[in-house]
Amino acid sequence: MSTLAVARKDFQDAIRSRVLLGLTGLFVLFVAGASYFFARIQPAPGGGDPTALVLIFSLLTPASLLVPIIGLALGYKAVAGERESGRIKLLLSLPHSRLDVVLGKTLGRTSVLVVPIIVGFAVGAAVIFWQSSRFTPVNYLAFAFVTVLLGLAYIAIGVAISSATTSTFRALIGGISLLAVLEFLWQQVLIAVVYLVNGLSLPQQPPGDWYYFLQNLPPGSAYSSAARSLLPQNPTTLAITGPTPDAFYLQDWFGFVILAVWIVVPLVLGYLRFEGTDL
């Protein structure tokens, strides 16, 4: 109840901001543009008419970069900004717990993210429908849903960092650093770790399953896995994704588990830090 009151107020506040308008515009441009590009220019594997499935796969990678940025942009100010401005005192003078604040903010910002994703994907669907003879709305909706989860994971990370610090500047720096490590430098970081652990040389034999698990750990990779698991297992899909390994934690559906962990763990840590601190 209290959480929802905070979430509703947060959404009311954010919906009036230019940030939301900008995000919606950016996301619509991105999905529509990418849909058009891949439908028109990129030939489908094996030639012929591009299917919606192929389009979805084509959108995965750019979405896994854009959505985290939007998520962090929405999250990093959530709590630290309130502390900086003193609005937190207004919020906590009313009978809300600090948990209500963290959860309400996360929920409110997620609603803000859902708006551009829905609008963006609706426009994208129109473009695909226009360009491709075969359009599968169910797959497309599933894709939109997983994209919201990825956004939620990054909002959770952003809100968590925001809860753990007193300045939006520090929250921003923390968020950008984490984004860079997780989504841009992760492979290099892994190789560096293996190199160090292996006594300053790279191992000769191929790495075990654990290595692939770590590779899939960032939210963006988990998102791709989760999205793949929702698509029908037909020859087209297999041609793109290749065979799946046996270990359960390398299955595509495990991406959902990883995303859930990325949502819950940062929020718990951020809340604990926020709960224990003086405002």
Partner: protein, 317 residues
């Protein structure tokens, strides 16, 4: 039952951030503070800036956690039962800012929803004097209007206790008077009011009891009258009379509460107890010395306050 009860509350802030080279000495914002506010009182919490008034309020609201001691508000633990405390308390915090993009009405709606109250935003806005700005975004409010809006949020749900931190900040004299009227009305409704100020004039006309905080310690606590008496209550009267017969001077000198009388032509300077002022004037009139003009100086509560908050904690007896 006490509305507020602080028991040995100490709050120390560690210096710096614990980073090497950036540490400074720990600051003790509150030192072993005991404070009791009776139910139904208007309690003025006075002290210069930096005395620890806001820290005290922050402890009551669980914004900061005391290093030692305990705080109870409305017989609830301020730390573990904070949410229940805030259900029954209305707060006008210090150093807040409103949500720029939300209207005054949305602010009040949020407070009403949060407190599960049935108030009407329009009525509250009327009461705090922002009715005509109710549907404008709070980002365009002046400091005084924002202050009124948040006072309105504090009034939502008929709280048992109002905690007002420097409530007259940003208000013009008229606004400050309206604020005091609301404070009195809330007390008459049965609420306890705890308000802090560094300006004595805001506290003096309205408070039942006054506590003076200095360097994190309560250096005086009494009624306004009591504080005035503790300060000695001496008033210096400067009186211009049309004639000054010796009899009149003698009569004034003989009055109770008059300590010194100096006559200089048609001007008389009298040091007397605060309550003896009118007797002095009427005695002069009765003894053939018509009063043309007079002026009172000293022994205002202002001086009491200054003596507590700047010099030694002891005041002259």
């Amino acid at each position: 039952m006490a509305a507020i009860e602080l028991d040995g509350v100490t709050k120390r802030y560690d210096g710096g951030l614990g980073l090497p080279g950036r540490s400074s000495d720990p600051v003790e914002a509150l030192s072993d503070l005991d404070l009791t506010v009776r139910e139904g009182d208007i309690y003025g919490f006075l002290g210069p800036n930096g005395a620890g008034k806001s820290t005290t309020i922050n402890v009551l609201l669980d914004f900061v956690r005391p290093t030692a001691g305990s705080a109870r508000v409305l017989d609830l633990d301020a730390r573990t039962e904070s949410q229940q405390v805030r259900e029954r308390v209305g707060v006008l915090p210090e150093g807040f800012s409103p949500y720029d993009r939300l209207t005054g009405r949305q602010h009040l709606d949020f407070a009403i929803e949060s407190k599960d109250a049935a108030d009407s935003p329009s009525e509250i806005a009327e009461r705090v004097g922002i009715a005509d700005a109710l549907d404008r975004k709070a980002g365009g409010y002046s400091k005084g209007m924002a202050q009124r809006l948040v006072l309105g949020m504090a009034l939502v749900g008929q709280p048992d206790l109002l905690i007002l931190d420097e409530p007259s900040t940003g208000l013009d004299p008229n606004g400050a008077r309206e604020m005091r009227d609301i404070v009195r009305a809330e007390r008459d409704r049965g609420a306890t009011v705890f308000f802090s100020s560094h300006v004595l004039g805001q506290v003096e006309p309205v408070c039942d009891r006054v506590g003076i905080l200095r360097d994190g310690e309560l250096v005086a606590e009494d009624t306004v009258e009591g504080l005035r008496e503790a300060a000695g209550g001496e008033t210096t009267l400067t009186i211009d009379v049309e004639r000054l017969p010796d009899d009149a001077v003698t009569a004034v000198r003989a009055l109770d509460g008059v300590s010194t009388v100096r006559a200089d032509g048609q001007r008389l300077t009298v040091d007397c107890a605060d309550g003896a002022k009118t007797t002095v004037l009427s005695t002069l009139e009765d003894n053939g010395a018509p009063v043309a003009d007079f002026d009172t100086t000293g022994a205002s509560l202002e001086e009491v306050f200054a003596s507590y908050t700047t010099g030694e904690p002891e005041v002259r007896a």
